[in-house]
């Protein structure tokens, strides 16, 4: 069940908050835990096994953390067991199919075709619980016997499906005791509605341009449309993910729970290095704290540093998806970040105009490799972006960019604006004014209308 859906907005969410606020404060974590489990159970109603898998994983990790804390001599063993279990499960569901396909091709043998449905949120859950085990291993003074609290931390419905990946110390205080206030609730609801609008009104709509480009076929798009398409994909990806993080944060705030920020205007960065400190920050921090630094970070010589970066970026690539284009994408980021480390970054930061210009190409081109899983199709698309590189164009409708410009031009500009800090600055200044308050409520109504129209009314939503 995604947040931007009518069953969530009109079913789960109001019911949850009514129950939550009717419950005395000291039982509210129980409500959060229960609500989260129900949320996950609804989301996996077609694969009920996955719900029990979640319960099992929670129990195993809670017990292992207790063992790590209790036995300093054996803690390494238990940590390894935990990591093996968590990543083993992730591998089984997410990577085994890819692994087998690759083996089949390499050795030309026949292996069973294993592509199970992915348990919702497993990539996020795995990273979160591993951070918990690793923190306890490193001696964090977590109360591993506060089972209810830890279970709540592992399964909180605002972030279990799609992050932010939270470390236990980031939420421990709020889980122990948190203040509720009408004003905080209001702030949270506002964040939630901003996120909802960003998702439904902006991300979904601009995403249609990318869908259209894909439907035409990359070999038949004009060069201007190719650029519009990849710009649309870049904005959709950002607004979609950012909006989800905002909704998660908003839901947390409504119950006095402070979840970390996940994005800080990444498209305003001057270098890819900077970009990855501002994009999906909770993931970047995870890789830094649990992979890069344990490997030695940048303190053990240049060669080691680049090795560590390569490891981090290959895994970052694979974390995003199990196919070769994600490996290639990770490698591309590694190359870009290495070049920046060798000196480019300093130049880009000294001349901001140059930095923005560089990012204007680096961002969409790196997302291109992310977006298209068929490597040969990436080549086709590059040929349309840069026709002077050659590449075959077939049956291009030369005026296509005018047609799609008319449909999506305004949306492209609005989305671009929402990639800058400007809307947030205005909101901070005027957010409490009557006009903005009612405007934001209108955003909610419009979002509900669009959701309703898209889902329930085939008569009004012609697509042919």
């Amino acid at each position: 069940m995604v947040f931007s859906s009518l069953p969530f907005l009109f079913g789960f969410m109001p019911l949850y908050f009514i129950v939550y606020f009717l419950t005395p404060e000291k039982y509210r974590n129980t409500i959060l835990l229960g609500g989260s489990l129900i949320f996950y159970a609804i989301g996996t109603k077609d694969q009920p096994l996955y719900f029990f898998l979640l319960l099992l994983s929670m129990i195993i990790n809670i017990v292992l953390a207790q063992k790590i804390q209790a036995n300093p001599e054996q803690k390494k063993l238990w940590l390894i067991v935990g990591i093996a279990y968590d990543f083993g499960l992730l591998f089984l569901f997410k990577y085994l199919g890819f692994f087998c396909d690759t083996l089949e091709q390499l050795l030309s043998i026949d292996l069973p075709d294993i592509h199970p449905a992915l348990p919702p949120g497993i990539s996020f859950f795995t990273f979160q619980v591993v951070s918990y085990l690793a923190d306890v291993y490193r001696g964090a003074s977590y109360d591993t016997h506060a089972v209810g609290r830890v279970a709540t931390y592992m399964s909180m419905y605002p972030q279990i499906i799609s992050g932010p990946i939270t470390t236990y110390d980031q939420v421990e205080t709020s889980l122990k005791k948190r203040t509720h206030s009408p004003r905080l609730f209001d702030c949270g609801l506002r964040e939630f509605c901003i996120g909802l609008g960003m998702k439904v009104i902006l991300a979904n709509q601009i995403g249609n341009l990318w869908n259209d480009v894909t439907a035409i076929g990359y070999e038949s798009i004009s060069t201007p449309l190719a650029w519009m398409g990849i710009a649309a994909f870049s904005m959709q990806l950002y607004l979609d993910f950012y909006s989800y993080s905002l909704m998660a944060r908003g839901l947390g705030l409504m119950m006095g729970l402070h979840l970390p920020q996940n994005f800080r205007y990444p498209y305003m960065s001057l270098s890819m290095t900077d970009f990855w400190r501002r994009w999906h920050m909770s993931l970047g921090q995870w890789f830094r704290d649990y992979i890069y630094i344990p490997l030695g970070g940048s303190r053990e010589g240049k060669l080691r540093t680049y090795r560590n970066m390569l490891v981090v970026w290959l895994f970052t690539g694979l974390w995003h998806g199990a196919s070769w284009n994600f490996v290639l994408w990770g490698l591309l980021l590694f190359v870009l970040l290495s070049i920046e480390r060798l000196g480019l970054k300093k130049i880009l930061e000294r001349i901001p105009l140059l930095g923005h210009l560089y990012m204007l190409f680096a961002i969409p081109l790196s997302w291109l490799v992310f977006a298209i899983s068929d490597l040969s199709q990436i080549g086709v698309y590059l040929g349309r972006l840069f026709p002077f590189l050659g590449g075959e164009a077939q049956y291009v409708y030369a005026q296509d960019y005018i047609k799609y410009g008319k449909t999506y031009g305004v949306m492209l500009i609005v989305c671009f604006l929402f990639c800058t800090p400007l809307p947030r600055k205005l909101y901070q200044k005027y957010g409490r004014s009557l006009l903005v308050t009612v405007g934001l409520a209108a955003v909610f109504w419009l979002s509900v209308y669009l959701l309703h129209q898209g889902l329930n009314d085939p008569f009004m939503y012609f697509r042919f």
Binding site: R183, A215, L434, L440, F459, F464
Partner: protein, 322 residues
Amino acid sequence: MKKHSDILFSILIVLSVLVLMPFVLRNDLFKQDADDTQTPIVQEPPTVSQTEPQGNEDETGAALPADETAPAGETDPAGETAAGETGAAGNPADETTAAGNESGETNTNETTAGSNTSGEAAPSETPTKEEFFSDVLFIGDSRTVGLMEYAGLDTANFFATSGMSSFKVLSEEVSVPNVGKVTLTTLFEQKSYGKIFLMLGINELGYSFSSVVSQYSEVVDFIRQMQPQATLYVCANLHLTASRSDSDEIYNNDNINRLNAEIAALADNENIFYLDVNPLFDDENGALNAEYSADDTHPYGKYYAQWGQWIYETCVQSKPAQ
């Protein structure tokens, strides 16, 4: 006052959720009902729909007057060869026309020569692609828009928009390239066509089947009445890919086949012919081949070009002497 403004937003949202909640829930229930009533209609003729693709193919062959009217010798070769042969027999200028058009080139001289001959000596002539489409009007939805944009049929007129349906086609203003924004009536008053291709129906699938069929034949009657000289091709709606067809209660190939069968029945094989392109793009199960489409609904741009060529070849081969 300050206090109220702190939570004014929450009050607005909570109130609107409470007000909308019964509506949204009832609407979901209502939708469920609608689906229930529709399900039997949808599944009524499963036997027909499964065998439809083959059936249609045969029907198409019979529908087009190839067997009846075409002299045996002339139907066999592909369009181009026929053009070359007859060109040589007629006058030398035409040979260049045919050759020029074969390679996809056109220049003004040739076109003029071509359209002259096609106007005067049409019966003995196999028209080139440009000639063939020069008196053609396409009427349709987004699939026809795809033909307009990607098939390279520059000499034809297109009255098509995304979302067009037989319920809208008689009243809606459409921007027709090289003509302007017109209703179908205005367009018919302005221009006279030799061939009209009508491909509508998929957007209507949500409506009751009988009303769709009767509306469609009303559109056919209207076109026949306004453009009696034109040959009308009623075209099968293109299939969807299996993945979409299997998961969509309304837009699925069973419903499309069912409607296509009704459309085929309108053909009189004299003035109205039925044309089914689906065999060209179908997979072995009679669904749109998944490799031809990214959105399960529209073929890639390059396949519209094949489609256009197919229309040309099919019509020219089948009706050389019309």
